[in-house]
Amino acid sequence: EADIYQTPRYLVIGTGKKITLECSQTMGHDKMYWYQQDPGMELHLIHYSYGVNSTEKGDLSSESTVSRIRTEHFPLTLESARPSHTSQYLCASSGGMAEAFFGQGTRLTVV
């Protein structure tokens, strides 16, 4: 079964560190997304991509950056992590106008 993978699942890191959250999908989807979700709260779109070398910022301002060099890979990077970045980060992908498929998420804690 095709899937979408996020690593790591959990990450605790110190302030000022650079981190990259990985996301890969095997479904051949052209569109990929990053959402941020605080516990019990709604999902906020922070980045999306419609294809290779295409990235856009989402609705919620984020200090993170993304890249899309390969169709299947959409990593998210924080150059200097801060406690305010503590959250859950969800990666998703979709094809055409269909529904989005989500990964398991990365729960990030910055101490």
């Binding site: 019990g40 999902l43 779109l45 979709s94 106008m97 529904e99 989500f102 398991q104």
Partner: protein, 115 residues
Amino acid sequence: AQSVSQHNHHVILSEAASLELGCNYSYGGTVNLFWYVQYPGQHLQLLLKYFSGDPLVKGIKGFEAEFIKSKFSFNLRKPSVQWSDTAEYFCAELRRDTGRRALTFGSGTRLQVQP
């Protein structure tokens, strides 16, 4: 104003009770509508979706939703809930006639089913 509104933030039901979770969207153009579920510790999964045609759509695990265009609503229903339905439920829209190709989610409804 939120483009997708879920007014019930926390719902507590007993097993076998009927469920209806409200979802309203504000976009007046063409939309695809979705309900996702997030079980504790698991990833978001699609319950059902509406693209066009029959406004009553059936999803997995006995869930259904009705698209009422005049009310901008897409409420989720289940005739008889089970303890295993305890989860967070999210309504989402995809605006088909704009350049945006990303889902917008509501704030979610936490459903707690008591045995």
